[in-house]
Symmetry: C2
Subunit: 348 residues, 2 copies
DNA sequence: TGTGTGATTGTTTGCGTTATCACTCCTTGC
DNA sequence: GCAAGGAGTGATAACGCAAACAATCACACA
């Protein structure tokens, strides 16, 4: 390390060398040791105020930024958390990811994502591996599918992992919306309007949300001693809602329908209308999700709002607890909320 | 480094020590130097096949994983790229992010995200800084707002940056959908159906997409010598489309409307219907985006499809070029596609 | 027989940071 | 006046890997 010549600014020296400032440069400029610079950055209260000020001035002057790789190497912690997620273009996963990212930002964590090309055990393990190879401090898995459970049973030991929206028999903490409660709420709402029973258009098999909503719907019907019709099965898309709606509209017996998400409900609404069935006069429809547009469906959709942002925040908090070593409660449920609009009405 | 005792498996020794295997452990087990292990992992063709096999066997036996922090420290490259994005719950940004992530995965890159709490210069610079502090190899900015331009003019030198959806006077490479072409296509489609002119419901001011679509619409009208009505201004939400639609429906002069996104179009459709205006018999409507549901709007929406996934892939490729040192062409436009459905018809 | 030459492997060093221990003052208490 | 203790700072040694250079070996060629 050469000494500073008079008339030669430190910044100029750096640019001559074509490299960013490191801790030693800051130390030299501030007239202290590198260790003191490190302390100013990590435990400022252990440094005398005057020294601290000199160091901070040098940091600013050189636009010094700590090298995270070096820090990770010695501390073993990266300040990065990983999110393994399936199809982040869907409203639910995208919102959850957003909630996680916000919570992470507020806590000085960065988020790396590994999205899954397919939903199966191998794919999930591969996603976890990719993140682990970047030494993330922990991982949040957003893959509400039964195949995720398999992947979660074979995790590397020692790596903090939290699941979002998973079932209740997982070996890791879970943050989720209470699907059963939401489905039951939707079902009871329809029953309270005088409908004899409620039909259900469910999501695809093996999705946790599908079975949770089926279970909630079924239990609400059974609690009132109502007939439980065979559920219809869609694939979450508006298209599937439309196709099933067309088939359905041929019969007349259905007066109330609980649909497992808003997009299928949208397709269903259109199919019913095209078939001359009025909503809600002839058929009442309740959705699930409360996507931002559902208030502008025709008619505006009664639906169950999921607070994905809150789920993301809780998942992050669970992960933080795990990283910190506390165990805490293993399952945090967010209550969904029934939003009554105009797609539901009294039984005809 | 103690020597391996007979009868003592390497895996057992590791678990006793409660630490993961490092390169030296692999080297010892394989009977080579650490450097040879490094070569097997990075330049396998420089190692004799038998040696390579021994090393790989040891890697598997110990479940060895290279420490990325150490690798970054010495190579200066992390294999991580950063994405700075505003509101990843919106369909466009979410799809773009997904496209970037897929391309990154195929090229063994990992993606870290920094979402922005607000759209302004400070916020963008802060997002870039957060990612930079984690030594990403490059950054893709997805913030199609004029404020992004300001942030882009003050980037740290030496950091590869690519913009998505930005204007054409940016100091960095840009990947984007050709908004003007899409808007012009939508407008010409309406004119070709006999409409005298086309009204426009635009996105909020200062969004690049808003002005691009306004420009395309305007130029298409002017090219045909048509009157250019004052554009109406929404905020991308279905709600704003609805409100403006209600106001609009009071007048009768409008027969064709180009709406700057599908969600506003959805609100507009409902407002028109509620006001007794038929679509497309009385008014034709074209949207923009082609969200997955737009085929199930009522009526199914004619719209302009943006291939966000492709934009993401091209942005990644541009960034890879930049990281690799090649300059390449600075602007890659993806052609949008007009999808004709049932919300447009002959002028009444 | 000596000398390149290339293929293969090893040794040393340094990347930039923090942990640990050691050192110097200065205060406190008796 | 002196020991004990604490506050502030520094020197040194890791952390795990790859770059650079050195060493070894086999083989070909003159």
């Amino acid at each position: 390390m050469t000494t500073l010549q008079p008339g030669e600014s430190p910044a100029a020296r750096l640019s001559e060398r074509h490299r960013a400032a490191v801790m030693e440069d800051v130390a030299e400029l501030a007239g202290v040791s590198a260790m003191t610079v490190s302390r100013v950055l990590n435990t400022p209260q252990k440094v005398r105020p005057e020294t601290r000020a000199r160091v901070l001035a040098a940091v600013r002057e050189l636009d010094y930024r700590p090298n995270s790789a070096a820090r990770v190497l010695v501390t073993g912690r990266s300040g990065v958390l990983g999110v393994v997620s399936f199809d982040t273009t869907l409203y639910g996963p995208a919102s959850t990811l957003y909630g996680i990212e916000q919570a992470a930002r507020e806590n000085d964590y960065l988020v790396s994502i590994a999205s899954l090309p397919a939903l199966n055990r191998r794919s999930i393990e591969e996603g976890v591996d990719r993140l682990r190879s970047q030494s993330v401090d922990g991982i949040i898995i957003v893959a509400p599918h039964e195949s995720a459970a398999e992947g979660l049973r074979h995790l590397p030991p020692g790596l903090p992992v939290v699941d979002v929206g998973g079932g209740d028999d997982l070996p890791v903490p879970v943050a989720a919306v209470d699907q059963q409660a939401g489905a039951a709420r939707a079902t009871r709402h329809l029953l309270s309007l005088g409908h004899r029973t409620v039909w259900h258009l469910s999501g695809p098999p093996n999705w946790i949300d599908s079975s949770g909503r089926v279970a909630g719907w079924r239990s609400a019907l059974e609690a009132e001693g109502r007939e439980v019709p065979e559920p219809l099965v869609g694939d979450w898309s508006a298209h599937s809602g439309y196709e099933i709606g067309k088939r359905l509209a041929r019969g007349r017996e259905i007066t109330a329908m609980f649909v497992a998400n808003d997009h299928m409900a949208m397709g269903l609404l259109r199919a019913l209308r095209e078939s001359g069935r009025r909503v809600p006069e002839d058929v009442s429809v309740v959705g699930f999700d409360d996507v931002p547009e559902s208030a502008y469906f025709w008619p505006p959709l009664t639906t169950v709002r999921q607070n994905f942002g809150e789920v993301g925040r809780r998942a992050f908090q669970l992960l933080l607890d795990r990283i910190g070593g506390t165990e805490g409660d293993a399952r945090r449920l967010v209550e969904p909320e029934l939003v009554v609009r105009e797609s539901t009405g009294m039984s005809p």
